[in-house]
């Protein structure tokens, strides 16, 4: 029994792979089997981790030779495991986050009856039995000749439904259902319900009238609680210390009621979250770079030269070119570009550099402050959704500055080993070894410039004897032929071994030939 079950599993899964390879209709079975293998391998990793701890702890406990290495191994293992699994310092994945929105948890079943939209119609059936798209499957039902949708339909859900069946009548029904499944007018575009996330969402800061409109939808305690929670969350005040403001600072129109600068405490005060668009609008507080006229360019140059050394001819040309052409960047960006270009083609004094780079420094500092405000005001939905190897995280640090150099060191040793192996392999002991040595000599020489130069003088009629051409010929004909012979043997060996394993003829990999 101990051998029969694994044999059966091997045979069944093996044949599934074979059938799925040749039968398009059964391709999914092969994919399923591969997923099962991944799950098993994942579980086995725990087994491996446990074994690693056991072996090395035993070495330490017994004070065996080299137990210190075991200590380092365990320390590195635990540290990497903790920072990797804990995702310390990894920001949440931007794709998983809803910037500019706040949430209150609310299961689909708790949505009030007033949020059920109904339109007359029939959900069409697909001829392949394909069910409704996953994004809407839990919210839509067919009842008494009507299609019911629970919650507010999102535009992506509408798109999925329209794509479900290519019929004009169905698209019309979906359009009607979409219109029916929208929030009441004062809340349209502000409130949403995400079924997959079991969350009621609100964009921006909720006003009292918005709150009343939402509360009016139902008297259910769960609903009221969710609305109140959302109200509180969306009105959270965030403060970020900003010691100075850009000269042309103006609160963007979309944030007029929610953002202010407190001159006394020198803080930016924001009510509610910031969306990506609002963040970008707030960032953009610096004038765009306009092309300068000839007179303006001369003034600019004179001013710059008055701060230090005069520009050389090339620098003057660059200055003229960069300042005269329209650039999409701000003044700070343009001046930074100009400064770098000027430095590349000559020197600049510290005062000149300061003058050129100062606006850019201000812009960067302001952007950093806006980003700080953006993140501080954001309600994180999935804190663990970030990439475990996110730049700047402890895991990334371990990976970049400990793991990569160590593996690169091991890999680099290969260069020395190749040299020593070549020295042994190319000793002219017999005829075959001499042939090998000669071939290697031609190939090595043919891959260097010296090799090409050596036989460059040969006339075109003898071009085939040029070392670089000989190299190509040896690699393309003799080497390829030998390689293919080995590959064909390997392919047949794999087929035969696979067949033996599938048929249970060879059971030695399970421990023995017999039961």
């Amino acid at each position: 029994m101990k051998r029969t079950v694994p044999l059966l599993i091997t045979a069944i899964v093996g044949f599934i792979f074979v059938v799925s390879f040749f039968t398009p209709a059964a391709e999914f079975l092969g994919e399923l089997a591969a997923v099962w293998f991944d799950i098993l391998a994942g579980i086995a990793f725990i087994l491996g981790g446990g074994n690693l701890l056991k072996v090395h702890l035993k070495k330490i406990s017994d004070r065996q030779a080299g137990w210190g290495y075991s200590g380092v191994t365990i320390l590195a293992f635990v540290a990497t495991l903790v920072v990797g699994l804990g995702k310390f310092g990894s920001p949440p994945a931007p794709k998983q986050e809803f910037y500019g929105e706040t949430f209150a948890t609310l299961p689909l079943e708790a949505l009030p009856e007033s949020l059920v939209a109904r339109v007359p119609g029939q959900i069409p059936e697909k001829e392949n039995g394909e069910p409704l798209p996953p994004s809407v499957r839990r919210q839509i039902v067919q009842r008494d000749g009507q299609i019911e949708f629970r919650g507010w339909m999102l535009s992506n859900q509408k798109h999925d439904l329209e794509e479900y069946k290519d019929r004009r009548a169905w698209r019309k029904t979906v359009e009607a259902l979409y219109e029916a499944a929208q929030p009441p007018e004062p809340l349209r575009g502000k409130v949403a319900y995400y079924t997959d996330h079991r969350a009621l969402s609100f964009k921006g800061a909720m006003t009292d009238s918005d709150r009343q409109a939402l509360l009016a939808l139902s008297d259910e305690p769960v609903w009221r609680q969710a609305v109140e929670q959302l109200y509180e969350q969306s009105r959270k005040v965030t403060r970020v210390r900003v010691s100075w403001l850009p000269e042309s600072f103006a609160v963007p129109e979309s944030l007029r009621d929610r953002l202010r600068y407190d001159a006394q405490t020198k803080e930016l005060v924001l009510q509610g979250p910031l969306s990506a668009d609002q963040r970008d609008a707030l960032k953009k507080q610096f004038p765009d770079a306009e092309p300068l006229s000839a007179k303006q360019r001369t003034t600019f140059r004179k001013k710059l030269e008055s701060l230090g050394r005069p520009l050389n001819d090339e620098q003057a040309k660059i200055l003229d070119r960069l300042l005269s052409q329209p650039l999409p960047e701000s003044v700070g960006e343009r001046n930074k570009l100009l400064g770098l270009a000027l430095l590349e083609h000559g020197g600049l004094t510290k005062e000149q550099c300061d003058s050129l780079f100062a606006p850019y420094r201000q812009e960067v500092a302001w952007r950093a402050k806006v980003l700080e405000l953006f993140h501080a005001a954001h309600q994180v939905k999935y804190p663990w959704s970030g990439e475990y190897r996110a730049q700047g995280s402890p895991f990334w640090w371990l990976y970049e500055y400990a793991f990569k150099p160590l593996t690169a060191t091991m890999f680099a040793m290969l260069a020395f080993y190749v040299a020593s192996a070549a020295f042994r392999a190319f000793r002219a002991k017999n005829v075959e070894a001499i042939l090998l040595l000669g071939t290697a000599f031609i190939i090595l020489l043919g891959r260097t410039f010296a090799g090409v130069l050596l036989t460059d003088w040969l006339p075109d009629s003898l071009a085939g004897l040029k070392i670089d051409n000989l190299t190509v010929y040896i690699m393309q004909v003799f080497n390829t032929a030998g390689n293919r012979a080995i590959m064909i043997g390997i392919a047949l060996g794999i087929a035969s071994t696979s067949l033996k394993v599938l048929l249970g003829v060879d059971r030695s990999y399970l421990g023995s030939g017999g039961e």
């Binding site: 030779a65 392949n128 069946k165 290519d166 004009r168 593996t407 043997g489 071994t497 030695s508 421990g511």
Partner: protein, 426 residues
């Protein structure tokens, strides 16, 4: 051409002036065929001759073939006519574009174009209608031609691209099975000597004499790699011999699943050798999944413990030479086996014995001496015969495809050679 003619007329009658010439030209223009209009690129081309749609044969149900005849105006590439293929789930619905194609020379010779339209998996078996519109160089569209019957994408039982591969697989598998049956009937089968496998006993014996461990490395891939399975089968023999000689085998693995499989194998080998008490599961352990971390551990271990015999049996990559050279430096007898062609030269250079490709897969049968397994090796030879025959056929066809050798029949041989390389061996 026509404009030139009009110009000439207008210049030959200066008295009638430009008006007469223009009138003649205009009359000529109106009288000419629609083809001329299309050539001139001013009016819409005539619609395609016909359109048909059917399931793409021998596929997974993800394509429908749309075949349509060229517009009568599409006489050369200069006309600039393209064809817009539209699809909809109902005859009078809202058609959407699924392809845009222009005729090439082959299509013009045949008078039709075939376009394979991709169908998403969720729309398999759904009915679809197609329309094709000819589009002139300035975007003028002809009236559409439309399919009358819906086409459905269906998944077929066998993939058309793999029919030949299936046939070859079946033949080789049948040959293996037949030779296994012949071997079972008791007929003796001769297998040539493989030096690398003969050396297994020698290597284990040497380790026993020196009182040092044997190191067995089953590659760096998981159990789903056939090379790892082949390596584990050799481990069974090595462990059994080691158990008989009372030598110690150490198996550090790169994958947890390989560790569990190797433990089972070694335990059973010790049991077969009648030494279950000598089995120590701690000598088979997991190191790390990381390639160079594993190599670092192995190199350090080899230098410290100085195993007398090292076996490298499985899938190896860049680490092959690092391991083999370290083993060489400590003076161990080394036997390697892999099916990675790029690593074979390194093993050949640094190891005492190397199992090259198919020898590695033959090891299990060779070492066990089991009639069933030896039969499978003979079955493999049929595969070699088929491959040899196909090689010869390919060389012959390619040679005959030269017009210097076979004259007008060259094209026919070329077609056969193409069929062999692009269809049979794809």
């Amino acid at each position: 051409m026509r404009n030139e003619l009009a110009d000439r007329r207008s210049t030959t009658a200066p008295a009638a002036g430009i008006v007469l010439g223009f009138a003649c030209g205009l009359a000529g223009l109106l009288a000419t065929s629609e083809a001329f209009a299309a050539d001139a690129g001013k009016t819409a081309p005539r619609p395609p001759a016909f359109v048909q749609a059917a399931d793409h044969p021998w596929d997974g149900g993800d394509q429908i073939d749309v075949v349509f005849g060229l517009s009568p105006d599409d006489t050369s590439a200069e006309t600039g006519i393209e064809y817009l293929v539209l699809m909809c789930g109902e005859p009078d619905g809202d058609y959407r574009e699924v392809g845009r194609v222009a005729a090439d020379e082959t299509a013009r010779d045949r008078g039709e174009i075939t376009l394979a339209v991709s169908i998403p998996e969720t729309d398999r078996l759904e009915p679809f209608y197609f329309r094709v519109v000819a589009v002139g160089p300035r975007g003028q569209k002809s009236s559409p031609v439309q399919t009358t019957e819906p086409a459905r994408a269906r998944a077929q039982l066998i993939s058309g691209n793999r029919v030949w591969m299936g046939i070859i697989t079946l033949v080789i598998s049948a040959a293996v099975v037949i030779f296994i049956a012949i071997a079972r009937s008791g007929r003796p089968l001769k297998i040539r000597k493989i030096a690398g496998l003969e050396a297994v006993d020698e290597a284990v014996g040497r380790a026993t004499e020196m009182g040092r461990p044997i190191l067995f490395i089953p590659g760096i891939q998981d159990m789903n790699d056939i090379q790892t399975i082949a390596g584990i089968t050799i481990l069974a023999r090595v462990a059994q011999t080691a158990a008989e000689y009372d030598a110690r085998v150490e198996v550090p693995t790169c994958r947890s699943l390989v560790m569990t499989a190797a433990r089972e194998t070694v335990q059973a080998a010790y049991l077969s050798a009648g030494r279950p008490d000598a089995y120590n599961e701690d000598s088979i352990y997991y190191v790390t999944d990381e390639q160079f971390g594993y190599v670092a551990y192995l190199s350090g271990m080899m230098v410290r413990d100085k195993p007398a015999a090292c076996f490298y049996m499985g899938a190896f990559f860049a680490e092959s030479l690092i391991l083999a050279e370290t083993g060489n430096a400590i003076g161990a007898i080394q036997v390697a086996g892999t099916a990675m062609p790029a690593q074979l030269p390194f093993f050949v250079a640094a190891c005492d014995y190397t199992l090259i490709g198919e020898e590695f897969f033959a090891a299990s049968a060779y070492l066990s001496g089991d009639a069933d397994q030896l039969g499978s090796l003979k079955g493999q030879d049929v595969g070699k015969l088929i491959v040899g025959a196909l090689l010869l056929l390919g060389c012959l066809l390619t040679t005959l495809a030269s017009p210097k050798i076979s004259g007008e029949a060259a094209a026919w041989f070329q077609t056969l050679a193409d069929y062999l390389t692009h269809t049979v061996l794809m």
